[in-house]
C-alpha cells in the first residue's frame, strides 16, 4: 500500500528511467534515430505524468524525496528542456559514431537532475550529484579529441575533489542530527560548527555543479571542449538542478547558521565575476559560459528568500524557465553561426531571422522587459529585497548594465558589415529552427503570461 502510493508519485521519474534504459538498448542495436524518438516520447510522457502530481505537496519514501511545487515545476522545466537539448544534439552529431549513447546519457543525467531538485535527504542529493556528474563527464568527453578529453578530465577531477569535500562535510550533518533527512536540520542551530561543516559541504558540492564562483573554473573549459549542444545542455539542466537542490536543502536550515550572508556574497561575486570575465572573451562559447556563470549568481537572489519570503520558489521557477529557454536558444544560434565572436560579424545581416532571434535571447538574458528574462529578474530582485538584501539587489541591477555591455558586443558585431573573406553562415536546419522557434516564442510570450506560472 505505502509502496504503491509512493511509486505512483514517482511515475515521471520511473518513466524517464525506463526510457533511458530502452534508449541504451536501441543504441546497442545501432538504431540512434530510434533512441532519439524513444527519448522524445519518454520525455513527453514524463512531462504529461507530472501534471497530476504537480500540486501534491507531499513526500515519498519516508521524507527522502519531495513531491512539492519546486520538484513539480522542476520537471515541467527540465523535461521539455532536455527534449530541446536532444533535438540540438541530433542536429549536431547525426550520423556519427556512438550517437545514440549521447541521447541515453542525456536522459540519465536528466534523471539525476530530477533527483537533485526533489531531494529531501542528503543521500539523495549525493546520488543526484554523482548521477549527473558521471553522465556529464562522459558527454563532455564524447568527441574523443584532445580538447574534449582534457575538458572532461578537468571536469572529472574538479567533480571528484568537490564531491569528496561534499560527502565528508555532509557526514557531519548526519552525525549531528542522527538523520540524513533535511527536515531534521531545523534543530541544528545549537550545534554551529557541525551545521557549518555540512553547509560548506553543500555549498562546495552544489556550487561546483551550479558553476558558482569560486567553484566555476571547469565550466568555460568543459563547455568549450564539449559539442555545442552538450554545452547548451549542461549550462541549463544540471545547473538548474543544482540550484533547485540548494533550495531544497536550505529550506529547513535555520538562518542562524549564517548561510544567507555567504550565499549573498557568493551571488555578488559570481554575477560580477561572470560578466567581467565575459567582457573580455573573444570566443563565443566561452563568452556565453561566463554569462551563464553570472546568471547562476542571479538565481542565488531567489534562494536568499527561501527562509521567509513567499517569492523565493516562484522566482527560482520563473527565472529557471526563462533561463532554459533563452540560454538554449543562444546556444542554438551559436551552432548555426559559429564558435568565435568573429563568426558573428555581420551574421545578423546574412541570416536576418536567426539574427533577430539571437537579439531577443540576448536582450532577455540582459533583463529587458517585457521579455521572459525580465519577469524572472523582477521576481528575483523582489525576493532579495523582501529578504532584506537591498544591497545585493542593487549590485544585481548594476550588473545588468554590465550584462548589456557584454551582450551588446555580440549584437553590435552581428550588424556590422560582414568581412568579405567570411563564408556565408550555415543555415539553421529544421531541428535547430524548431528549437529556435520554440525558445523565441517562450522568451517573447511568457513575459506577458507569467501569471500562469506559480506565484
Amino acid at each position: 500500500m505505502g509502496m504503491a502510493r509512493d511509486l505512483s508519485f514517482l511515475l515521471p521519474e520511473m518513466t524517464l528511467g525506463i526510457t533511458a534504459f530502452i534508449m541504451l538498448v536501441a543504441e546497442m542495436l545501432r538504431r540512434p534515430r530510434l533512441a532519439l524518438l524513444i527519448g522524445l516520447a519518454g520525455l513527453a510522457l514524463a512531462t504529461a505524468l507530472t501534471f497530476p502530481v504537480l500540486n501534491a505537496g507531499t513526500t515519498v519514501f519516508g521524507g527522502t524525496y519531495r513531491i512539492d511545487m519546486l520538484s513539480g515545476w522542476a520537471k515541467l522545466i527540465l523535461l521539455p528542456g532536455t527534449a530541446l537539448a536532444l533535438l540540438l544534439a541530433r542536429a549536431e552529431i547525426a550520423g556519427r559514431d556512438r550517437e545514440g549513447s549521447v541521447y541515453a546519457l542525456i536522459a540519465l543525467v536528466t534523471l539525476g537532475a530530477l533527483m537533485l531538485s526533489g531531494s529531501g535527504d542528503v543521500m539523495l542529493m549525493v546520488l543526484g550529484v554523482v548521477l549527473t556528474g558521471l553522465g556529464s563527464f562522459a558527454l563532455v568527453a564524447w568527441p574523443r579529441d584532445d580538447a574534449a578529453t582534457e575538458a572532461a578530465m578537468k571536469y572529472l577531477v574538479f567533480g571528484s575533489v568537490t564531491g569528496a569535500v561534499m560527502i565528508y562535510g555532509l557526514s557531519f550533518w548526519y552525525g549531528g542530527t542522527g538523520s540524513t533527512l533535511y527536515s531534521a536540520l531545523s534543530g541544528i542551530g545549537d550545534q554551529p560548527l557541525i551545521a557549518m561543516a555540512g553547509l560548506i559541504a553543500v555549498i562546495v558540492g552544489l556550487g561546483y555543479k551550479a558553476a558558482l564562483f569560486p567553484f566555476h573554473f571547469w565550466a568555460p573549459d568543459a563547455y568549450e571542449g564539449a559539442p555545442v549542444s552538450i554545452a547548451a545542455y549542461l549550462s541549463v539542466i544540471t545547473k538548474l538542478a543544482a540550484l533547485f537542490a540548494f533550495a531544497q536543502a536550505f529550506r529547513d536550515l535555520p538562518t542562524s547558521t549564517g548561510w544567507p550572508l555567504v550565499i549573498a556574497l557568493i551571488a555578488a561575486a559570481t554575477m560580477s565575476y561572470g560578466y567581467l570575465a565575459a567582457l573580455v572573451q573573444t570566443r563565443m562559447v566561452r563568452l556565453i559560459a561566463y554569462s551563464s556563470i553570472a546568471q547562476s549568481g542571479y538565481f542565488l537572489l531567489g534562494l536568499l528568500a527561501i527562509g521567509g519570503g513567499t517569492l523565493a520558489l516562484p522566482s527560482l521557477i520563473v527565472f529557471g524557465a526563462a533561463y532554459v529557454a533563452m540560454n538554449l536558444g543562444a546556444f542554438a544560434v551559436i551552432m548555426v553561426a559559429g564558435r568565435e565572436l568573429e563568426d558573428f560579424r555581420g551574421f545578423g545581416r546574412a541570416a536576418p531571422i536567426t539574427g533577430v532571434a539571437m537579439v531577443i535571447f540576448l536582450l532577455s538574458l540582459t533583463g529587458i522587459p517585457p521579455l521572459f528574462g525580465f519577469v524572472g529578474k523582477v521576481y528575483l530582485f523582489g525576493a532579495a529585497i523582501s529578504a532584506g538584501y537591498l544591497w545585493l539587489a542593487i549590485i544585481a541591477i548594476l550588473n545588468s548594465v554590465l550584462a548589456l555591455a557584454v551582450y551588446l558586443r555580440i549584437i553590435v558585431a552581428m550588424y556590422q558589415p560582414r568581412p568579405d573573406a567570411a563564408a556565408a553562415p550555415g543555415q539553421a536546419g529544421p531541428l535547430i529552427a524548431a528549437v529556435l522557434g520554440i525558445t523565441v516564442l517562450i522568451t517573447l510570450v511568457m513575459g506577458l503570461f507569467a501569471g500562469l506560472l506559480p506565484g
Binding site: V204, P214, Y379
Partner: protein, 604 residues
Amino acid sequence: MSLLSLTLLAPLVAAAAILVLRRASAALALAGVLLGFLGAAGLLFGAARGDLLQAALPGLPQMPLRLTAGPLTALLSALVATVAALVVVYAVGYMRKDPEKPRFFATLLFFVSAMQALVLAGDWITLLAAWELIGFSSYLLIGFWHGREGVAGAASRAFLYTRSADLGLYIAAFILIGSAGTSEISAGLTTGGVAATIAGLGLLIAAMGKSAQVPLQDWLQRAMAGPTPVSALLHSATLVAAGAILLIRSAPMMPAGVLTLIALVGGVTAVITGLMALAERDLKRLLAASTSSQYGLMLLAVGAGAPIAALLHLLAHAAIKSSLFLGAGVFQHDRDSTNLSDLAGAGRARPGIFAGFALSALALAGIPPLAGFFSKDAIIAASLAAPGALWLVPLALIGTVLTGAYMARALRHLWRGKPPGRAERAPWMAAGMGLLVVPAAVLGAGFPAIEGLLNAAPPGGEMAVALGLAAAALGLLAGWFIPAPRLLGGLLPWAQGGFAVAGGMRGLVLRPALAIAALTETFEQRLYNGALATGRAMLSLGRISRETDETGIDGAIFALARRTRETGARARRLQSGLIHRELALTVLGIALVTAVLLAAPLYS
C-alpha cells in the same frame, strides 16, 4: 478599455503590418498614428468628462499590469499621439528616398506604442517595461543608419547611459512596491519617510539619465546621429520627456530634501547645457543641448513645488522643439549638413519654413503671446515662491537669458549669408512642421483649460512676467548682436568640450569597468602563478627526497617510480597542469566561506 487599446495597439499593429507586408509603409504608418491619435483624443475627452478609464491585464500574480487614463495621463497620451502623428506626416517626406523605409516606420511606430504604454502605465511593472522598451527602440532609431561611421557607437552610448541611470528606477519601483504592498503607482505615492527619500533619489537618477541632465547630458547630443524626425520625436514629447514625466507624476511623494536636489540638478543643467548650446557649431546639436536645458527648467519647476508649471512647459516645449527639429531637417535636406556655417543663409531660401522656425524660436525664448511665454513665466513665478528662491531665481533667469541667446544665434546664422537659388518644394515636411508650429504659437491659450482639467493652478504674478520678459529680450538681443565667443568669454572651451566633469561618463564609469574586467582576466593568471610557484617549491622538495631515496632503493621500486612519474607527466600534459591551480583557488574559496560562517555570531 477599447480606447486604451486603440491608443496603444494601433501603432503596434501598424508596425507589425509594415514589417510583414514591407510595402505601403508610409500609408500604414499614417493610418497607425492617426488611429492612435483618435484613441488618445477619446481618452482626453473622457478624462475631461471626469471618467477614469482603466484596464488591467493578468501579468504577474497579485501585480496586474494596469493602464490608467486619468486627467494627467490622458493629457500626456494625447500629447504623444499628436506629436507622433505630425512627425510621421513629416517623415513621409523626409524618408521618401530611403531604401530602408519600412524598418524606419516600423521602429518608429513601435517606439510610439511603447511611449503610450509609459505615459498610461498605472503600475510600476508596466512603467518599467515601457521605460526599457522606449530605451531599446530609441537605440534602434538612433542607430537607424548603422552603416554610417560613428552611428552604432552613438546608439550604444545612448542605450548604456540611460540604462545605467535606470538603476534608480528599478530601486525606486521595488522600494515603493515593497512599502505600499501593491504595484499600483497611485498607491505607491502615499509612501513617506526614509523609503520615500530613497525612492525619490532613485527616481531622480532615472530621470536625470533619460532627460539628459548634468552630468549625464552627453548622450543626447551624440544621439543626433539618428534621422531628424527621430530627433524631433525623441526630444520633444517622448524619450527625453519620460524623465520629466516620471518626476511630475511622482512629485506628490517627494520629501522636501529630494525636491531641493531636483531643483538644483535642473537649475544647474539649465545653465550648463544652455552655455553648451551657445557654443555649439552644429544646428541639431544646438537644439539637443537646448533640450537638456529646457528639461532642466522643468525639473527646477518640479523641485520648486510646482509640477503644473513643469507640465505646461513640457507641453509647450514639445510643440516648439519638434517644429524646430523639423525645420532643421528641411534645412539639412537642402544643404546636406547640419553645420551652422554650412547652413548660413539657408533660411532665406525657404522663407516659409524659416518663418515657422523663427516663430518657434521666439516661443521657446518666451516672447508673448507664444506658448513658451506662459510656461516660462509659471516656472519663474514658481521659483520666486519656492523656499530656495534665493538661488533658484537666478538659475531660472540665467537659463531664460541663455535660451534667448542661443535661439537668436541660430536664427542669425540661418538668415545671414548668401541666399542660394530656390529650393525644391517639400510639401509633406512643410505640412508636418506647419501643423506643429500652430500649437507652438497658440498653445498658451489652452493652458487655462488644462489647469482646470488637472485642477491645479500654476503660480503667477507681475514680478515673474517682468523678469521673464526682460530675460528673454536680453537673451535674444545679446544672441543676435554679440558673437557667441565674446558672450562666453573664458567659458568657451569648457562649453565646447561639453563640460566633461572629470572625464565624464567615460572617465568615471567606462574606463574603470574595463580596467576591472582586464584585472579579472589577469586575476586567474596571477593566482595560477602563485599556486604554480608553491607547486614548484613542493616539487623541488620532492626531488631532493627522491634523489636521496633513489640512491638507496632497489631497482624494482625505482622502475615503478619512474613509470609512475612518466604517467604523471603524460597526465599533466593532458591537463596542461591547470587543474591543481584552480583547485587551489577552490580551496581558497572554501576557506573564505568558512571564515564568513565562523564570523556569523558577530553579525547575526
